[in-house]
Subunit: 346 residues, 2 copies
């Protein structure tokens, strides 16, 4: 089956969800030596002079693992474009630092107690160290970028940093509003999530000195992958497309977030349904049984399936974007990662 | 009198406190057109796409004024070294953004309600917008630096950003400890305050393409000025060297901060005095009348005068550092600003 699709023009290749199984591990295996160097650089650069508090807070979060999805994009993009130096290591570490800086700050502003199944740095060390170490990781990421000597890459990543925050603030400003609709939703997730995926992939290509068309292709891939990733994340909060309600955490619902499943269900609702969504999301007036009602409205209106279809379309866009890049195992792996993102939402 | 001192070798010129009167306004007047351009750039770049919340939060703090001391250093340094372009405007705005980003985050982690005589952004808008807009200003500052095209300047300012945070975390880790003594104290203030003064002045020289010796001179000036500034700040918390107790706010005392006046008083104390400082600072066990006792111990031991003398010595170092720079009104004004810093503590 894989051979059959591989013979089609790459841009027309369908996203086969089966190809997503284990795709991320296959990508990691292809860049294993580089990834080990990134881990070493992360461990080294989270140290600070005169105090070990920074390293302890940073290690609590970064050391807890996480998939290193964003740095893998940087490494794979750089390798795909023939990079053979040190800069993609630095940039991959910088990208992971930016990501973790935003997580540290998110956990402070959301007063979150748990992340990745463990207590947050905010819960363990308090708000002060969490805010400050987030700032430190942000500064460190720019020091790493400076070491590459590329103002161009610095431009891409500093723009991404600004866009990430704009997305988060827009989310805050538009929270609990159905009025912004999908327009605001996509602006928010392009900022808070896709911008760093895009910059991570793009920076890898730039480190390799790839032609502009390839760098643009990597940026388009990262953007679409990031959008698909966030849609799936938002879908998982309602248990995924198969409506496995036992998996639904409902955290977004309780916070009144107008995510895509909500927006689609709202747009497909009758008058009573619209009143329901207005009450629970905009009014944040939530009562016993409301979450179950929300899940039923989503399932019955096909909103969950429709949300998944949107994610799949973006994953397809990501795969198509890879067409200008050199064929081979790395491009295959990146394409399969787009399918992998979808498997999370089953 | 001014002429008499001007004829001495510049490095030996004493810091005449009288020269500090109105010195900052004289400096501002010399760079007024540039300063106006910086204000315009700050107003423009605090805007964000899609949401006005960022600009409102940023304007609440940045728009409230403040002296723009750090951007003035950048502008004066650049002009002093003959810069005649746009980059010093960008860098001055970037420096002010970094400064205000740290203030926004400080007010969140300290849960401060008032700054510069007004409610803090944290009090008005809450912690979420304050943290995020701090991040935004930080990202914006790097975008501005990228526009200068100078990786060298980016290196100086990203290092400064990391050192600022290291200083703040060291302060947190060493808070309420007398054991670190002046060694830790100076590491803290070099980080949290002097690093940005140093980078601000240095970046101005670099924007002008000044020779390495002049850039180093500007860095040394900024560092010493920043140290003097922070010592004076810490002295003011105890009412200044004249022991004008009515002016003493005691905020640092209540927080148990081991600032220089405390460290000197502690080092000069007898056994009973050392027990007092250990109780109120390290134990943070503070009772009615303790602050008055602290002020008396400081006055009687000469700790306040000694603290002021230390600030004066750094101001003197700052003036001496200016020797390699071109003579003229701008260098005079920078020298007088060192004296101005001292006048705050009378």
């Amino acid at each position: 089956m894989r051979d059959a699709v591989a013979q089609k023009p790459f841009a027309d290749r369908p996203v086969a969800e089966a190809a997503g199984e284990g795709a991320f591990e296959r990508l990691q295996a292809l860049i294993a030596p580089e990834l080990a160097r990134v881990e070493a650089m992360i461990a080294e650069r989270m140290q600070a002079a005169d105090t070990d508090l920074i390293a302890r807070v940073a290690a609590h979060l970064i050391g807890a693992g996480g998939k290193r999805l964003r740095p893998c994009l940087t490494l794979a993009a750089a390798r795909l474009c023939g990079h053979d130096g040190e800069n993609h290591i630095r940039l991959a570490a910088a990208v992971e630092f930016i990501h973790n800086a935003t997580l540290l700050h998110d956990d402070v502003v959301d007063e979150s107690d748990r992340r990745r199944g463990r207590p947050t740095a905010n819960a363990v060390f308090g708000a002060k160290p969490s805010v400050l170490v987030g700032d430190f990781l942000f500064a460190r990421s720019f020091q790493l970028m400076v070491e590459t000597g590329s103002v161009e890459v610095l431009g891409v990543l500093s723009n991404a940093a600004a866009v990430i925050v704009e997305g988060e603030v827009l989310q805050l400003a538009a929270a609990r509003s159905l009025a912004g609709g999908e327009d605001v939703y996509f602006k928010v997730i392009r900022g808070k999530t896709a911008a760093l995926f895009e910059a991570a992939a793009q920076a890898g290509g730039m480190a390799a000195g790839a032609p502009a068309a390839q760098v643009a292709a990597l940026a388009a891939y990262g953007d679409a992958l990031g959008v698909a990733f966030q849609i799936v994340d938002d879908l998982l909060d309602y248990g995924g497309a198969s409506a496995a309600f036992g998996k639904a955490s409902g955290g977004d619902f309780r916070e009144g977030k107008a995510t895509l499943p909500v927006l689609i269900a709202h747009s497909r609702a009758d008058e009573a349904g619209r009143a329901f969504w207005k009450r629970v999301i905009e009014g944040r007036d939530q009562r016993e049984g409301d979450f179950e009602t929300a899940l039923e409205l989503m399932r019955d209106s096909g909103a969950l399936e429709a949300t998944r279809a949107r994610a799949e379309a973006f994953a397809q866009t990501a795969v198509a974007a890879l067409a200008p890049l050199p064929a081979g195992p790395l491009r295959e792996a990146l394409a399969d990662v787009a399918a992998f993102v979808l498997t999370r939402a089953r």
